[in-house]
């Protein structure tokens, strides 16, 4: 079971909860579980069948590169954060 930290502007979907537990062997499965718990969640982070271009995901402090297929280790801490490139 992973701990997912809910982005502040999505907490309306979660009734104000700033974190929740979710299951899924991959990020796709995890987001599906979040969407089941909080309908509408998936649409806020997924576009065209992939992670939205404006969204990055950190698992245990590291920004992932595998997109929705990224494996999610048990007991992970997961954050959805803005995608950043740089100059």
């Amino acid at each position: 079971m992973a701990t997912v930290f809910i982005p502040a502007l999505l907490r309306k979907l979660t009734g104000g909860k700033d974190r929740t537990s979710a299951t899924g062997a991959t990020l796709r499965e995890l987001i599906n579980d979040l969407d089941r718990q909080f309908p509408g969640f998936r649409d806020r982070v997924v576009e065209h069948g992939d992670l939205a271009g404006s969204v990055a995901v950190s698992i245990n402090g590291e920004v992932i590169t595998g997109g929705l297929a990224e494996p999610v280790p048990t007991d992970s801490e997961i954050h959805f954060v803005p995608a950043i490139a740089g100059g």
Binding site: L9, S54, V81, P82, G86
Partner: protein, 756 residues
């Protein structure tokens, strides 16, 4: 992966850069140096209005001018749909990109491109653009974020809705996106504070100020294949953007990255490349476009001005109890300011329990902003780091000690949530505290008031995709091929990494920056990622070459590959210590041992190590004129493992120089009509060597555990602290808290007068 104990023979030394002679002798070929048979010269017609509807464009007179071979307008671009498309490391809206390249139905800023001409000489092209008749209906414009956010503000893009907003709305708006980070309880935090400081800040739009203007040469062939030579931070990125916006396969375009005279983020977007390509397609000839300095300033991608409010509370022990930030950044004419990065960086050096950060990306009638060294973070630091200085002062705590008390370390949650892995922020604070500079008394300057300021900064750094090949030459030297345009000395660092693995000298490895058909996909040079990620690919490619060399030696010795070891440029057989060969000897025998050796690797690495910096600056302020002189400047930084320390120092010094300009002089100055009035280096004043002392650097090497050599990006974070550090120094000198950038002489003089 990296170990503190790793011993290097090449990494950490200071060889002469491989491209140095070409650059100092003028032999290096930049984009504008490219000439081809039959070359035409292009010129772009630009909007004189900040906001206007284009009623009509008549190009007939221009097209009829002798020597003119092609004229294009937005009608020559394919019709594109609005929507965000992932493009490697970037997410882009092809419609907006197209609208920025040549205005569609509206011009949205002074300098917005409207049409382009190709002619047999630059002078004819210049004459021709003057003959293009554009009928405009001038519209009200808005250039300030707070005005642009108002309900009755002129709307720039009717289809924009606030992305990220908690509630969906169908209302037209200039607020393109919204972001928030929040945790803990602000009320509880502020109640626990013994002191609260709240201030508002305004920072001006500034430009990266790279010396070399944008340029592009394009040749479109009748078979549908095209070649573009251009000054770009990413050949593949430029190719993909061109393909997207022109509606043609990216693979039909070859982009050859020319030598680049600075980018700092501003040469990631494309401006001239598709225009040159369309003009070439229309004329059947190669076409060159080169911007003037005025065009660079008016119509490329500066970094946003911003309005920032910071409220922070701290207790008597010096612990920050709560922090609240509100920030609005100028996106320019199309969405995409770095406000998200600003929000994620503004409090990143600190361990905070209660915080809320709100950010807004706001459309204004100014050029579409682009990345500029740690985009978004410098504006943000000006707010937080000066408020922190004020808290420390009011609590009677040394400002560096205050930062040490609150500083983030491994395991600290970032403002955005994720916990830091191994970082070196506190080490930068300690290094600043222990520096000769901080321990020395302030110098005295006759007739001027002196002060010392400090500030810290954070930048994420990036990974992304890179490819590299390492080919062994017949004489035992090596060539390293990458796809990363070299802006800050990355040829040298890539060659040194290969040399380290292969047991060669740095001079025995020849680094090459290849075009898009000669190397695997490589994302842009940006995000301080090249030495980290492309260096990672080089490391892996060199290891691949070593494995092949071991196989070849095994073939010669009729041994098993696992019986062969490679160390310090020598292969030897473990089961028979008598048999060994240097790489040079083995290279000559490769034809009889299985053939040439070429290592290759393509990576998309994780393990990015973020960077922190803490700076100390002494200033002298003339209380009569308000002029601020930098007397002494020391930059400390966690640089991971410094591959070539001179280039790390160079990055730090260059970034500080830019930060000083941002702090004291640079600003886009628009008149009431929305016209940029200082579109040249005489009036847009960047610092010169006469304005700066030697920037002292202290490199702190906290190896990044996510990289085989311990590398962290180094190029961006040193631009983050300077404006705040200088503002804090000005306060210590004259007793006024500056809250606007630039802190130019009139503003400082006014503030001093008002205090009196």
């Amino acid at each position: 992966m990296a170990t503190q104990e790793a011993k290097f023979k090449v990494i950490g030394t200071r060889p002469i850069r491989h491209d140095g002679v070409d650059k100092v002798t003028g032999r290096a070929r930049y984009g504008a140096d490219i000439n081809l048979p039959g070359l035409l010269h292009g010129k772009v017609l630009r909007s004189p209005h900040a906001h206007a509807r284009i009623k009509s464009i008549d190009v007939s007179a221009a097209a009829a001018l002798p020597g003119v071979k092609a004229v294009i307008t937005s009608a020559d671009f394919p019709k594109l749909k609005s929507g965000v498309v992932p493009l490697g490391e970037l997410a882009m809206n092809p419609l907006y990109m197209s609208m920025n390249l040549l205005a569609h139905d509206k011009v949205l800023y002074d300098g917005h491109a409207v049409a382009a001409v190709a002619a047999t000489s630059p002078h004819i092209a210049e004459e021709a653009v003057k003959l293009i008749k554009v009928e405009y209906e001038v519209l009200p414009h808005v250039q300030d974020v707070r005005s642009a956010m108002k309900e009755d503000a002129p709307i720039l893009l009717p289809d924009v809705r606030t992305s990220g907003a908690p509630e969906k709305s169908d209302k037209q708006t200039n607020i393109a996106s919204q972001v928030r980070f929040a945790r803990g309880d602000l009320d509880v935090g502020f109640k626990a504070a013994d002191i609260v400081v709240e201030r508002e800040f305004n920072t001006a739009m500034v430009h990266q100020g790279y010396i070399e203007p944008h340029n592009a040469v394009a040749q479109y062939n009748a078979d549908g294949q095209a070649t573009i030579w251009t000054s770009t931070q990413g050949a593949f990125t430029a190719r993909d953007q061109c393909g997207l916006v022109l509606g043609i396969p990216a693979s039909s375009i070859k982009v050859v990255p020319a030598e680049i005279g600075g980018g700092f983020g501003g040469k990631i977007p494309i401006y001239l490349e598709p225009l040159a390509l369309l003009l070439s397609k229309k004329s059947g000839k190669p076409v060159k476009l080169v911007m003037s300095r005025g065009e660079v300033l008016r119509a490329t991608g500066p970094t946003p001005g911003s309005h920032i409010r910071v409220k922070m509370g701290a207790n008597k022990a010096g612990k920050i109890t709560a922090a609240q930030v509100w920030m609005a950044y100028e996106a320019g004419a199309f969405p995409g300011s770095p406000v998200g990065a600003g929000c994620m960086t503004i409090l990143a050096p600190y361990d905070l329990e209660n915080l809320q950060i709100d950010g807004f990306d706001v459309l204004v009638n100014k050029p579409k902003t682009a990345a500029y060294r740690a985009p978004g973070a410098t504006n943000a630091a000006m707010g937080a780091e000066t408020v922190i200085d004020e808290l420390a002062e009011k609590l009677g705590i040394d400002p560096l000690e205050f930062r040490r008390i609150n500083g983030a370390k491994e395991g600290t949650a970032q403002p955005a949530g994720p916990k830091y892995l191994r970082i070196g922020y506190l080490e930068t604070v300690e290094a600043a505290k222990n520096s000769a500079h901080y321990k020395s008394p302030l110098p005295k300057v006759s007739g001027k008031l002196v002060g010392r300021g400090v500030a810290s900064g954070f930048w994420f750094n990036a990974g992304f995709q890179s490819s590299a090949t390492v080919n062994i030459n017949t004489d035992g030297t090596a060539n390293v091929v990458t796809g990363s345009p070299d802006i800050g000395g990355s040829r040298a660092s890539c060659a040194m990494i290969a040399a380290e693995v292969l047991g060669l000298k740095a001079e025995e490895v020849h680094p090459v920056v290849a075009d898009t058909e000669s190397i695997g996909h490589t994302d842009m040079t940006g995000g301080s990622r090249v030495t980290f990620a492309t260096g990672y690919a080089v490391y892996e490619a060199a290891q691949d070459a070593v494995n092949q060399l071991k196989q070849r030696a095994a073939t010669l010795w009729k041994a098993k590959p696992e019986e062969v070891v490679f160390q310090d440029g020598v292969v030897s057989r473990t089961t028979n210590g008598q048999e060994s060969m240097s790489l040079k000897e083995l290279a000559g025998k490769l034809p009889r041992a299985g053939g040439p050796v070429g290592g290759r690797a393509s990576v998309n690495p994780r393990g990015v190590g973020p960077a922190f910096a803490t700076h100390v600056v002494d200033v002298a302020v003339d209380p009569e004129t308000g002029k601020v002189d930098i007397l002494r400047y020391t930059a400390t930084q966690d640089v991971g493992k410094a591959v070539h320390p001179s280039y790390v120092e160079g990055q730090m010094q260059g970034a500080v120089a830019q930060g000083v300009g941002w702090a004291l002089n640079e600003e886009y100055f628009y008149d009431e009509k929305g016209t940029l009035r200082n579109a040249g280096f005489l009036d847009y004043r960047v610092p010169t060597c006469l304005d700066l002392p030697m920037i002292e650097t202290i490199l702190i090497e906290v190896p990044n555990p996510g990289h085989p050599i311990g590398i962290r990006g180094v190029g961006e974070v040193p631009i983050v602290p300077p404006p705040a550090a200088i503002a804090n120094a000005i306060y210590r000198a004259v007793g006024v808290r500056m809250t606007e950038l630039p802190m130019s002489p009139p503003k400082v003089a006014k503030a001093v007068l008002e205090k009196k």
